[in-house]
């Protein structure tokens, strides 16, 4: 039995080295901008860069819009499928898994062909159109994660009884969804939302091919033109991913606590 524990520790330690070294490397590199010592110079330059502020703010905006759109599409669908159309379930689940099967670069290629300036719906022709297309595209990319977390959330509550109760008190569908269902699956929606945020914030392929100057293309541009700043950006991006995943864990734990209390 002693041998087993030894092997396990060996696997974990070797894995730990592989996974921690790049993090240490990127952090170390990001601090080396000034010769002869560690400093936060690279961070200072990045954070003060107006391009960074613009592209980052822009990507945050895109991520938030994607989350809102994702909730508006996914919550009613998951709800009605569970309550009224159980037969549609396999089809809807299949569609929500498609973005994992079709490579994102193919999806955006399709957008460029369908929504180009000479088509019926020339979305890529205008600034507004491109942004709308991008937000819908990101909602597509996050569909598998959003749908799964919302659907899991709906499974844990009795939506049929909640709906009947709300209807007997005179609620319409919009009100039931917004006031009864959404608050009950709020934690699941939030996990989907944070995952969406983590995916959208540094996304590159969609943005680059639709010629949008968001955080992803900005990072690639920095990577091609600067030495130390990219590492600082990578540290920032990694921190954002951690915060998103950490918040998901936190909220999930919080929801377990509240279920017990109820």
């Amino acid at each position: 039995m002693m041998g087993k524990r030894l092997w396990s520790w060996l696997a974990v330690v070797l894995g730990g080295i592989y996974f921690l070294l790049p993090l240490v490397g990127m952090f170390d590199f990001s601090l080396r901008m000034q010769r002869g010592g560690y400093s936060f110079e690279a961070y200072r330059i990045v954070l003060a860069d107006t391009q960074f502020q613009q592209t980052f703010g822009y990507s945050v905006m895109l991520a938030l819009l994607t989350i809102v759109l994702g909730i508006l599409i996914v919550v009613p669908t998951a709800y009605f499928v569970r309550l009224r159309f159980p037969g549609l379930r396999p089809i809807v689940e299949f569609i929500t898994l498609l973005p994992l099967v079709i490579p994102p670069i193919v999806i955006v290629f399709g957008y460029i062909r369908i929504y180009n300036t000479s088509s019926i719906l020339p979305l890529t022709g205008s600034w507004w159109g491109t942004n709308i297309l991008l937000v819908f595209g990101y909602a597509t990319l996050s569909l598998p994660y959003m749908y799964r977390s919302v659907d899991t959330g709906l499974r844990t509550i009795d939506i049929a009884s909640l709906t009947e109760a709300a209807q007997s008190l005179g609620s319409g569908w919009a009100r039931i969804l917004a006031v009864v269902i959404l608050p009950n699956v709020f934690v699941s929606v939030l996990s989907g939302a944070f995952l969406t945020f983590a995916i959208v914030i540094g996304e590159y392929v969609f943005a680059a091919l639709l010629n949008v100057n968001s955080f992803g293309p900005y990072m690639v541009w920095m990577g091609g033109n600067r030495a130390y700043e990219p590492s600082a950006l990578a540290v920032v991006a990694f921190a954002i991913t951690w915060v998103c995943m950490g918040l998901i864990q936190l909220f999930t734990r919080f929801s377990k606590f509240s279920t017990v209390r109820r």
Partner: protein, 294 residues
């Protein structure tokens, strides 16, 4: 929950037509932003510039440069999927069966969640900062051990460098998927095997692995698709110096290289076919695996 429609008062049932408005936006959205764009590409792969049906585009896939790009992509995806499976399996086995402290197991699972999502551009930067010409590990090896990585022919902008980088999201994904399967191995099975005199090796070869193999192969297929579709990491790491299929398609769409959109369609179509086959295998094997591991 499926019987709920019958329980509801009959007055609301004629409103079934109204319920369609609840799911209609989803189908419209999926049609416009997922299905039609993909169909457009698939159909385009079988048409020429005049709109006539042809197999000519697919034939162009077998030109030496495109074929080479697909081969490198397939090799890269297979290699990182296989290594990801092996290493991920060891780590998952260590945290589920290895009698390690509970906090370590939770920490590793949380980290896997983060690392499997830490792909794309920042991941490439992290590896350049670590194994690039002036990277942390490159310098460490040179100053402490006198090993000159780049003198030995290593380069982060290479097949090997890309494979090392891809493993950073492949291994954690394997850990996340296979841990529940390993937890589904019942203690009784092991005890039954041991009471019949089986050694640890025999237990794994004759009991555990036959139960796990659909999960293992299925995850291999998923990791393959995962690596095959990864574009941003490769572009940020190599620029466009390494010709793998998604990078060729990226350049094609941008119009940097050849200006033949129908060749682009064909490349995209081939990518869909490969990832669809890999995912199809994953789903089939997953269904098989769920028969046993519950």
């Amino acid at each position: 929950m499926t019987t709920s429609a019958a329980i509801l008062p009959s007055a609301v049932r004629p409103r079934q037509a109204l319920n369609w408005f609840g799911v209609a936006p989803f189908f419209l959205f999926a049609l416009l932003f997922l299905i039609l764009p993909t169909l457009n590409i698939v159909l385009g792969a079988f048409r020429n510039a005049e709109g006539q049906a042809t197999l000519e585009n697919l034939g162009k896939l077998f030109s030496p440069s495109i074929r080479a790009a697909f081969w490198i992509s397939i090799e890269l995806s297979l290699l990182t999927a296989a290594l990801g499976c092996v290493f991920g399996f060891f780590i998952a086995a260590a945290i589920t069966l290895g009698e390690l402290p509970r906090w370590l197991r939770n920490a590793i699972l949380t980290f896997s969640g983060v690392a499997s999502n830490f792909a794309g551009v920042p991941l490439a930067f992290a590896f350049i900062a670590t194994l690039g010409r002036l990277g942390f590990v490159t310098m460490l090896l040179r100053h402490w051990f006198g090993i000159n990585l780049y003198g030995l022919g290593f380069n982060i902008v290479s097949f090997l460098g890309l494979a090392l980088t891809y493993l950073y999201f492949q291994v954690p994904l394997m850990v996340l998927i296979i841990t529940p399967a390993l937890e589904g191995l019942r203690r009784e099975w092991r005890e039954a095997a041991e009471s019949l005199g089986a050694t640890g090796f025999q237990y794994w070869r004759l009991v555990a692995l036959p139960i796990l193999w659909p999960s293992l192969l299925g995850t291999l297929a998923l990791l393959f698709a995962n690596a095959f579709g990864a574009v941003a990491t490769a572009i940020a790491l190599t620029g466009s110096s390494l010709s793998i299929a998604p990078i060729v398609l990226f350049a094609q769409i941008r119009g940097d290289v050849l200006n033949d959109p129908h060749l682009g369609y064909a490349i995209a179509f081939a990518m869909i076919v490969l990832t669809a086959v890999a995912n199809g295998i994953y789903i089939l094997l997953r269904l098989r695996a769920e028969r046993w591991v519950k």
